[in-house]
């Protein structure tokens, strides 16, 4: 179980009619699902939707009261397939993941789901990880919605609106027998806001009812000839039904004056930034009272052509504000207008940038240009808009560009993956560079300094598979790295099974830290904790052996750098054929500290004997060559300048955040670095034996020290 407790957030799920929810967007979504009467929820964690999974994982009582089934799915494909419960039964269900990566994985199931259609409302919450701060490739989920004909909701970043669109989205799904996607961008997911809640709804038809009264309909299964019929049905029946529903319930919003020569068509998600840009231009106040008409598409697919036509009919110019590329909506708007012979000129990505975030700044520049070219009088006397350019042009600021260092994310203090890469670095020094396939997860930080290990990353759990072409006899072997999360997501079959079957000679390193740590520390099959609701403690080693791997090594303490190095060397040089699999296991330090630290503090307070460990550096022994840091990068191992004119270079220093993982000492030993590191053990609440031993030893130590002092004085 994730070591962080979400008990407080779970309380929010219980809010009832007229209460006010205050909190993160993704938690508002979670609450909205319960208000909409879902019967089941699934998903795979990942920024920005992890908290939905986390909170529901902790919300056992709430879910039980409502009869809701919740699952943390094996992967996104599994989550998408879960929605098949809504195909034949009037069950509302929702799944969530990080997109587009999760949607990529899920698309097989999604396409099948969308082809046959649904009876109960089926909703896919996609956390659109696009723009600054995103951790994945920059793509749009929009394409998936269009290709499979899944309706795409893109609500204004406002809790009230998002919550409403979830409720309406389920109705839309049911009215048009089509699954619905709700797209929320990263910042909207993490946005603090509020909305007035309603009571949760217990579904009238439950999963149990469905299980006990099975129904099937050959016409809903994707197999010819039904599949041909599905396509016709999508166009003839489901599409019009959706358009009718969206129009009737006014899911899209028109704002601003009725008579104007220009207008803006925008995705709901762009609304706040558009308003801010208009405000800078003097065309809106802070409360959204705009002087330029807006057509806000809370539903971005399908485009409701009649509404677009009505909005544009009496205008000379409209601009489409659509983040990401290609410009699907702009194309659809053009088609709608041209077919109807409406002459309004459509602008969009000819003015606004094709790629990248549409921040207020970007929109300010784009909309100003649009208005200058279409209706310049609107801009009035052009009040000064914020402009950082003069500041950025200052010599003092320009100089900062050379000074301020990059600070990419890295492994945490005490991370058990650090010694793994330190060992790989040592092997590299001995056996030369190797081709290393990296994977998705915290371990991907190995590609950055100081380790600089890893050549490609092809997707979650696909590290081993992405080494599969390197399957020839050669002077060196390929190395593939994968985490335990990726292993269970698909790596067991796509990576290890594939290598066993195809007799791949490479080295496969599975880094097992007991959680899917990068997504927030959720439990998986091989987690070591006991979880009352899930089956954990399933061994990765047994799984790979079960799939046919022969050369398997388990190391249960990654901090043993020397052993890890030797095992890697053996794997790279052994004559034995077939994949060489190393499973390196130690608990994620972030989660371990969350778990252990309160226990230790409580024990110390209660007077129990506790030994706290941390590392230190003898600064007069350290020579400032920083070789240790090139094998570490630990946040707690840093440099410090000495107040000594004889010494030029800063020396190593370990700060109080050190958790005593041991990596520094192990690396100093394994790499034969230097003797400056020491581990300090402090015994809290020492017993009589501890005290006696220290007394005796220190008497001896002081006697020797005094002896040397005298000898020195005599010399």
């Amino acid at each position: 179980m994730a070591e962080r407790s979400f008990a407080r957030e779970v309380e929010d799920l219980r809010l009832g009619d007229g209460d006010v929810f205050r909190g993160e967007g993704i938690l508002a979504i979670t609450k909205a699902l319960l208000q909409a009467g879902v019967s089941y929820v699934g998903g795979y964690p990942g920024s920005p939707i992890s908290h939905l999974i986390d909170v529901l994982g902790d919300a056992r009582d709430v879910l039980d009261e409502l009869g809701v089934v919740f699952q943390s799915s094996a992967n996104e494909a599994a989550a998408a397939a879960m929605l098949s419960a809504s195909v034949m039964y009037p069950l509302r269900g929702a799944v969530a993941w990080k997109s587009t990566v999760g949607t990529n994985v899920a698309s097989d199931a999604l396409a099948n789901l969308a082809s046959g259609g649904v009876t109960g409302g089926a909703m896919i919450i996609v956390g659109e990880d696009y723009g600054e701060g995103s951790s994945i490739m920059q793509e749009r989920t929009h394409a998936f919605a269009m290709k499979s004909q899944i309706w795409l909701l893109d609500p204004r970043p406002d809790h009230e609106c998002i919550v409403d669109m979830i409720e309406k989205g389920f109705e839309l799904s049911e009215a048009s027998n089509t699954p619905v996607m709700l797209e929320v961008r990263v910042r909207a997911c993490h946005m603090h806001g509020s909305f007035r809640t309603k009571d949760n709804v217990r579904p009238s038809f439950t999963i149990k009812d469905a299980l006990e009264n099975p129904v099937r309909d050959l016409g809903r299964i994707v197999l010819p000839p039904a599949a041909y019929e599905h396509e016709r049905e999508k166009i003839a029946r489901r599409f019009p039904a959706a358009i009718e529903f969206v129009k009737r319930h006014r899911l899209n919003e028109t704002m601003g004056p009725g008579n104007a020569k220009v207008g803006i068509v925008l995705q709901g998600g762009m609304y706040n930034n558009v308003i801010r840009a208009l405000q800078y231009l003097g065309l809106s106040d802070a409360y959204g009272r705009t002087q330029v008409p807006l057509y806000v598409m809370n539903v971005t697919y399908p485009v409701i052509e009649d509404e677009v036509a009505d909005f544009c009919r009496d205008k000379d110019h409209v601009i489409v504000v659509e983040e990401g590329q290609p410009e699907y909506i702009e194309q659809a708007v053009n088609t709608a207008l041209r077919r109807r012979g409406i002459s309004a000129r459509v602008r969009g990505k000819d003015i606004l940038p094709m790629a990248g975030d549409y921040t207020s700044q970007v929109l300010l520049n784009g909309l100003r240009l649009f208005l200058e070219e279409s209706d310049p009088r609107l801009l009035g006397n052009r009040p000064p808009a914020p402009d950082p350019a003069p500041v950025l042009a200052l010599a003092e600021v320009k100089r900062l560009k050379e000074v301020v260092p990059e600070r990419p994310p890295g492994l945490c203090t005490g991370c058990p993956e650090r010694p793994v890469f330190a060992a790989m670095k040592l092997v590299e020094q001995e056996l030369g560079l190797h081709h290393v396939s990296a994977d998705i997860g915290c371990h991907l930080f190995s590609i950055l300094p100081p380790f600089n290990i890893g050549a490609t990353t092809m997707g979650f759990g696909l590290g081993p598979a992405s080494a599969s072409a390197f399957n020839v006899k050669a002077g060196k072997r390929s190395i593939a790295v994968m985490g335990d999360g990726g292993f269970w997501h698909n790596g067991l079959t796509s990576g290890i099974g594939n290598a066993v079957f195809n007799r791949h000679d490479g080295v496969f390193l599975v880094i097992d830290n007991f959680y899917t740590s990068a997504t927030g520390g959720q439990d998986i099959l091989s987690s070591r904790a006991k979880n009352p609701r899930r089956t954990t403690n399933n061994s990765i080693v047994r799984a790979v052996k079960g799939i046919g791997a022969k050369w398997v090594r388990q190391l249960d303490r990654t901090y043993d750098v020397g052993r890890l190095r030797d095992t890697l060397k053996e794997a790279l040089t052994t004559k034995e054929e077939g994949p060489k699999i190393i499973v390196a296991s130690s608990e994620c330090m972030l989660n371990k500290q969350r778990r252990v630290r309160p226990q230790i503090d409580a024990a110390v307070r209660s007077g129990a004997r506790i030994v706290k460990e941390r590392f230190g550096v003898d600064e007069d022994v350290c020579t400032g060559d920083h070789a240790c840091m090139r094998l570490s990068g630990c946040p707690s191992l840093s440099v410090k300048k000495l107040d000594d004119p004889l010494r030029d270079d800063p020396v190593a220093a370990i700060d109080s955040t050190c958790v005593g993982c041991g990596n520094c000492g192990e690396v100093a030993d394994a790499a034969v670095l230097c003797p400056s590191f020491f581990r300090a053990d402090v015994v809290h609440n020492p017993n009589a034996r501890d005290r006696w031993r220290q007394r005796v030893t220190m008497r001896f130590v002081r006697w020797l020290q005094a002896r040397r002092e005298r000898a020195g004085a005599a010399a």
Binding site: N381, V397, R407, A627, D669, Q705
Partner: protein
């Protein structure tokens, strides 16, 4: 920076250009930026305002740089303000940076502008990986950030909030919150800030104490004068009178401070006689300096020699390590650093990895020469010695062992390592004097090259090889008038990059013309 152009007194095209109060927080993952964001949001909500915050935790949570953004504004006519999810460069009221380079980053992003922004920053440093992994000094220049703040911020509140946090116990977020309360940049009364934190702390008041201290510190009009003025006198170590007199009699005034430190270091390393050796060698350097007209250079050659000769003579050997680790002051320092209380018990464990080389280095030179002729025997010794050894420093056996090794100091001058170091040192001095005769600056640069040699075992060997390559390259261009510049460039290339690729590049360039 003020816009002086004349504007016609026309109103804007629309009404209400009143904008929300905007606050950007730049922090590193784990600094409590999320907590601080939460406080500000609840503070504003408590005043009946609408507040919205956004962040991109994701992977940035793991020690990377990240940004939190807050906007707040009162509702009006039953309407809620529409708040932005991203800061707009040039339109941010308050920027808070929990670390000094992050303050620099906020300026680079255009978030701090002279017409608007109050910048609240802690000027402590948490070094980025790139600053740590160079084989020498690579720390970013905080002065550049301070200078930029001076020209871009409308108002600045900058002090070491990390130190304050350590002093009062608590997260830096409470210090930032205190500084924000003191700044008056938000239209809320200071007691409201404190009340929020009181509600938060549930009996624990560590955050409150820090908040109060930061608030007090931030509202002090003039900061206390900085202690680290550039002209601070160097520390004067206690020296035997005889050595002190020698320095005063034999060396020019400009070199004496450095020489005093140097003598102290080598005497600490070996004994007073070694201090005389040091001064003898330094006198040689100084004689050459005078002959080369060093007076015009303020005797830079002598001063540089005083510095690096001390490093060369106080080399890092096993005896030195054992000596340092068994001193009483060492345990005191650890106790202070870690904060060991008198009712607690401290033990330290050393991570040694001796090899035959270190053992033979300690042996008398004659023995070592004899062993050199018997490589099989050396291999046999190495097989027995070469492995990691964890030693409990403050145990009878561990301490006695280290004590005995430190005691070998008396025999050090007869050891193989000493012979090697002396030969290397003498060659270096001779070469420096040789170059000095050609070109004063080059002579100084050759002395500076000693900086490349440091570390233990492989690191030491790599340092030596870099030194050798730089010295060889210097030989190729010693007759050029810009030889000293090239020598400096070579040395800097060697220091900045551990792989040696930069040095290779620099040497290639030299080979192309020399």
């Amino acid at each position: 920076m003020r816009d002086e152009s004349v504007r016609l007194p026309l109103g804007p095209a629309g009404p209400a250009t009143e904008r929300p109060v905007s606050i950007a927080i730049l922090a590193m993952g784990g600094q409590g930026g999320g907590v601080l964001t939460d406080w500000i949001v609840r503070l504003a909500e408590g005043q009946g305002w609408v507040a919205q915050s956004t962040s991109v935790p994701g992977v940035a949570q793991r020690t990377g740089a990240t940004l939190y953004y807050i906007e707040c504004m009162p509702p009006r006519d039953g309407l809620r303000p529409i708040l932005s999810l991203v800061p707009t460069p040039g339109d941010v009221d308050v920027v808070m940076a929990a670390e000094f380079m992050e303050a620099g980053r906020s300026i680079l992003r255009g978030l701090v502008t002279p017409d608007k922004t109050t910048l609240i920053a802690s000027d402590h440093r948490a070094f980025a990986v790139v600053e740590k992994i160079a084989p020498g000094e690579a720390i970013a220049d905080s002065g550049a950030v301070a200078q930029a703040i001076g020209v871009v911020a409308r108002r600045e509140i900058v002090f070491d909030m990390n130190a304050l946090s350590a002093e009062h116990g608590g997260m830096i977020s409470a210090a930032l919150f205190g500084a924000l309360a003191a700044s008056g940049a938000l239209p809320f009364e200071a007691p409201a800030f404190r009340a929020l934190l009181e509600g938060e702390s549930k009996g624990r008041n560590s955050g409150l104490a820090l908040f109060d201290a930061a608030r007090e510190r931030a509202s002090r009009s003039a900061p206390p004068p900085s202690q680290s003025s550039g002209e601070a006198a160097p520390p004067r170590p206690p020296l035997a009178a005889r050595l002190g007199d020698r320095i005063d009699n034999e060396l020019p005034a400009a070199s004496r401070d450095m020489a005093r430190l140097g003598v102290a270091k080598v005497v600490d390393f070996q004994d007073a006689a070694y201090g005389d050796d040091y001064l003898d060698l330094l006198a040689r350097l100084h004689a050459a300096d005078k002959a080369a007209g060093g007076g015009a250079h303020d005797f830079l050659f002598t001063t540089t020699g005083a510095k690096y000769l001390a490093s060369a003579m106080a080399y890092d050997d096993v005896i030195r390590v054992a000596d340092l680790k068994t001193r009483p002051s060492r345990r005191t320092r650890i106790e202070r650093e870690i904060g060991v209380r008198s009712d607690q018990v401290l033990q330290t464990t050393e991570y040694f990895h001796p090899r035959a080389e270190e053992l033979i280095g300690m042996a008398p030179k004659a023995w070592a020469d004899w062993l050199d002729r018997r490589p099989r025997l050396v291999e046999w010794i190495d097989a027995r010695v070469n492995r990691g050894r964890r030693v409990k420093t403050y145990s009878v056996f561990g301490f006695a062992t280290l004590y005995m090794i430190a005691g070998l100091k008396a025999r050090r001058r007869a050891s193989r390592r000493h012979a090697v170091e002396v030969a290397h040192r003498d060659a270096w001095i001779a070469r420096a004097i040789e170059c000095l005769a050609l070109n004063y600056d080059l002579g100084v640069e050759v002395l500076n090259c000693r900086r490349l040699i440091k570390g233990y075992s492989d690191t030491h060997a790599r340092g030596l090889s870099k030194y050798d390559r730089v010295m060889a390259a210097i030989r190729r261009l010693e007759s050029r008038s810009d030889a000293a510049d090239w020598a400096r460039r070579l040395r800097e290339a060697a220091i900045r990059d551990s792989s040696g690729a930069m040095l290779d590049g620099a040497i290639k360039t030299i080979e192309s013309f020399a």
